[in-house]
C-alpha cells in the first residue's frame, strides 16, 4: 500500500559505487549538472553531454542496478519530457530550421451536422528550439538518473551525513548545520518505522471492515484521523524515549559530532573526484 513512496529505495550492495562516500557522489553529481548547464551556452557542442552520460552509464553498470527497475521508475519523467518537446520546439525564437504546415484538420460530421476544418500551424522549428530541447532534456535526465543512482547505492543516513559535511563550512556564518543534521538523521531513521507502523494500523483497521479507498471525502478524512491518533502517540512515545536515551549518553550538539557512516575519503573517492572533473572538462573544451 505504502511501498510506492520514492524514499528508502536504497538497495544494499558491495560494488565500488556503493563503497564511495556519499559526499563524493553528491559532489560528482553537482559537478556534472553544473557543467552540462554551462555547456548549454555552446550551441550544438555535445562534448560535455557525451562525457557525462558515458560516465553515468559506466557508474550504472558498475553498480549493477536493475535497468528494468530504473525504466519503470522513469517512465513518467520520459512521458512528461516528450509532452514538452513540441512546445519547446515551437515556441523558441531564432533562425528557422524548418517550417511545418500549416496543416488543416478535417472533422467530418462533427456534432452530426457540420464539417469542421481546423487549421494547425504553421509550426516554425528553430535551431535554438532543437538545441534547447536536447540540452535541457539531457540535464533533466542526467539529474534524474544521477540522483536515482545516488539513492539506490547510498543509505539515507549516509546521505544526510554527507550533506551535513558538505554544509559544515556554513557554520561560520552562524547556520545551525549540526543541529539540522541531527534532526534530519533522526527523522530519516524513523521514517521507515513510521511507514511500517502506518501500514500495520491500516491493515488492522481494514481487517475490521475499514475501507481506505472509497467513500466521501469527509469519511476518508475521518478514517485518516483514526490512523493518525495511534501513529502520533507512538511517535511521541518514541521521541520521549530517544531524548532520554540521548541525554543519558551525554549527547549534546556543542561539540563536533563524529559520524557513523561518512568516514574519511578513501583512495577510490580521491580518484573519482580527480578523474571525473578532468575527463568532463577536457571533453567540454577539446571535443566537438
Amino acid at each position: 500500500m505504502l511501498n510506492n513512496l520514492p524514499i528508502g529505495v536504497y538497495i544494499p550492495g558491495q560494488t565500488p559505487i556503493h563503497r564511495l562516500r556519499a559526499r563524493t557522489k553528491l559532489l560528482v553529481l553537482i559537478w556534472l549538472a553544473l557543467l552540462c548547464f554551462v555547456a548549454n551556452h555552446k550551441r550544438f557542442h555535445f562534448g560535455a553531454y557525451v562525457a557525462s552520460f558515458s560516465l553515468l552509464a559506466l557508474a550504472l553498470l558498475i553498480a549493477q542496478v536493475d535497468f528494468g527497475y530504473i525504466w519503470r521508475r522513469m517512465r513518467l519523467l520520459v512521458i512528461l519530457l516528450l509532452i514538452g518537446v513540441p512546445f519547446s520546439l515551437a515556441l523558441t525564437p531564432g533562425p528557422t530550421w524548418h517550417t511545418f504546415g500549416p496543416i488543416n484538420l478535417h472533422f467530418d460530421h462533427l456534432l452530426h451536422f457540420q464539417n469542421v476544418t481546423i487549421p494547425l500551424g504553421p509550426i516554425v522549428v528553430t535551431y535554438d528550439g532543437i538545441w534547447f530541447m536536447l540540452s535541457f532534456g539531457a540535464i533533466f535526465l542526467l539529474l534524474y538518473l544521477g540522483s536515482m543512482l545516488l539513492t539506490l547505492t547510498t543509505t539515507p543516513v549516509a546521505l544526510a551525513e554527507g550533506v551535513m559535511l558538505l554544509l559544515r563550512p556554513l557554520r561560520r556564518f552562524g547556520l545551525p548545520v549540526e543541529e539540522f543534521g541531527l534532526m534530519t538523521l533522526v527523522s530519516l531513521r524513523f521514517i521507515p518505522v513510521l511507514i511500517q507502523e502506518a501500514e500495520q494500523l491500516m491493515k488492522a483497521q481494514i481487517s475490521r471492515g475499514a475501507d481506505f479507498t472509497t467513500g466521501s471525502l469527509t469519511a476518508r478524512l475521518r478514517r485518516l484521523g483514526s490512523l493518525l491518533v495511534p501513529l502520533v502517540q507512538g511517535a511521541l512515545r518514541r521521541a520521549a524515549n530517544l531524548s532520554s536515551a540521548l541525554d543519558a549518553r551525554g549527547y549534546g550538539v556543542t561539540n563536533e559530532a563524529t559520524l557513523l557512516h561518512e568516514g574519511r575519503l578513501g583512495l577510490l573517492d580521491w580518484l573519482v573526484l580527480l578523474a571525473v572533473p578532468i575527463i568532463t572538462a577536457l571533453a567540454y573544451w577539446k571535443l566537438f
Binding site: 527497475y69 494500523l201 481494514i206 481487517s207 475490521r208 475501507d211 483514526s226 495511534p230
Partner: protein, 329 residues
C-alpha cells in the same frame, strides 16, 4: 455454520518486480478443517504472519489461491464485495494488537468494526457488550467510556480481541496472542478461546512460539520454515519425532522432552504425554503398577526401573483413556 480454509500452492512475494523483492511464502498447500483449532509455528521470519494475512484477504497471493467457504482469493482481481464479506467472516487479531487501539473510548474502539457494517446503534451496543463480556472485561457504562490508553497492556489486548469478536467472525485468527502475557493472563486467554469455540463453533487458528501452549490447545499443527510448510500433523505425532521439529529450529515442549528422555530410561510415560495432567496420570499409573516390583529398587538407589512389562501396559491403557477425555472436551 463453521467454515474451513483451503490453501492451494500459495506463493507470496513482497515488493514483486523490484530489487527488494522477497519470497516470503513458497508453494504452500494446506487444509484447515472447520471448527478445528490449528496452530502455526515456526522460527522468526518463517512467514507465519504473511501466511495468516492471506486468510482474510489483507495480502493477495502472488500465485495460488486461498479459499474460505465459498469465497476464493487468487492473484487476479478479487471483487471488493467478496473481500468485504471475507473480512467479516475471518477475524484477524494482529501481533501486539494493543498498539493499534485508536478510539477515544473503549466503547468506540470495540464498536469500530460493527459501525463499518452499518448496523443500528442499539445492535452495535449489544455486540460491544457481548464482545467485552466474552473477553471477561467490565461492561459497565463507566468502563465503556474510559480511554483504552488508561488500561494495562493485557487489558488493552483483550479490548483489541473484543474489537475483532464484535465483527462476529466464523474464523478467528490470532497472531501470537499470548506473547508477552503473564501466566495468569495466558490461562485466562486460553479459557476464553475454548469457550468461544464451544459456544459459537468458531474455527480457531493461532500463531505461537510456545510449544506447551500448542500442545495444550491445538488439534493440528503446521510447521513453517523459510517460507515453506515443512511439517504438519497432530501435536502428539509431531512431538513424538522431535528430530524433524528440531531441524526446523524448534524444540518440543519441555514435558514432551522429559517423557521422551524418561522413556529411554524405561519410565512408563509416553512421548505423546506432554501436558502436566497427562504426565502426572501416566506417572501415577506407572508408580502404582510398578510399586510392588520396583519400589524397593528405587529405595536402593536406582530410581528408573529399566525392566518390567507392567508399567508399559499400564501407561498405554491410560493413554487411550486420556485421548478419549481430550476428544470429549
Amino acid at each position: 455454520m463453521s467454515v474451513g480454509i483451503s490453501i492451494e500452492h500459495l506463493t507470496h512475494i513482497y515488493n514483486p518486480r523490484t530489487p527488494t523483492a522477497r519470497t516470503a511464502l513458497h508453494d504452500i498447500t494446506m487444509q484447515i478443517e472447520a471448527a478445528s483449532c490449528t496452530a502455526i509455528v515456526g522460527v522468526t521470519g518463517s512467514g507465519k504472519t504473511t501466511l495468516v494475512q492471506h486468510f482474510n484477504g489483507l495480502l493477495k497471493p502472488t500465485e495460488g489461491s486461498v479459499r474460505v467457504g465459498d469465497i476464493e482469493v487468487t492473484s487476479d482481481r478479487t471483487r471488493s464485495a467478496d473481500l468485504r464479506k471475507l473480512r467479516r467472516r475471518v477475524g484477524l487479531l494482529f501481533q501486539f494488537p494493543e498498539a493499534q487501539l485508536f478510539a477515544p473510548t473503549i466503547y468506540d474502539d470495540v464498536a469500530f468494526g460493527p459501525r463499518q457494517l452499518g448496523l443500528a446503534e442499539a445492535v452495535i451496543r449489544m455486540r460491544v457488550i457481548r464482545a467485552l463480556d466474552a473477553v471477561a472485561l467490565d461492561t459497565s457504562s463507566e468502563f465503556l467510556q474510559r480511554s483504552p490508553f488508561a488500561l494495562s497492556g493485557g487489558q488493552r489486548r483483550r479490548v483489541a480481541l473484543a474489537g475483532v469478536l464484535a465483527m462476529r467472525p466464523q474464523v478467528l485468527v490470532l497472531d501470537e496472542p499470548s506473547a508477552g502475557l503473564d501466566a495468569e493472563a495466558r490461562n485466562e486467554l486460553y479459557a476464553r478461546l475454548a469457550e468461544l469455540r464451544a459456544n459459537d463453533g468458531l474455527t480457531l487458528v493461532f500463531i505461537s512460539h510456545d510449544m506447551a501452549e500448542v500442545a495444550a490447545l491445538a488439534d493440528r499443527v503446521f510447521v513453517m520454515a523459510g517460507g515453506e510448510l515443512r511439517l504438519s500433523g497432530a501435536p502428539e505425532d509431531l512431538f513424538r519425532q522431535p528430530d524433524d521439529l528440531i531441524a526446523c529450529g524448534l524444540v518440543p515442549p519441555p514435558l514432551a522432552q522429559v517423557t521422551r528422555l524418561a522413556q529411554e530410561h524405561g519410565w512408563p510415560a509416553q512421548p505423546q504425554h506432554f501436558t502436566p495432567e497427562q504426565v502426572a496420570t501416566a506417572l501415577a499409573a506407572g508408580i502404582s503398577s510398578a510399586s510392588h516390583s520396583s519400589l524397593s529398587q528405587a529405595a536402593s538407589g536406582s530410581p528408573l526401573p529399566r525392566t518390567g512389562e507392567g508399567p508399559g501396559v499400564g501407561a498405554s491403557n491410560h493413554n487411550h483413556h486420556m485421548q478419549g477425555g481430550a476428544d470429549a472436551e
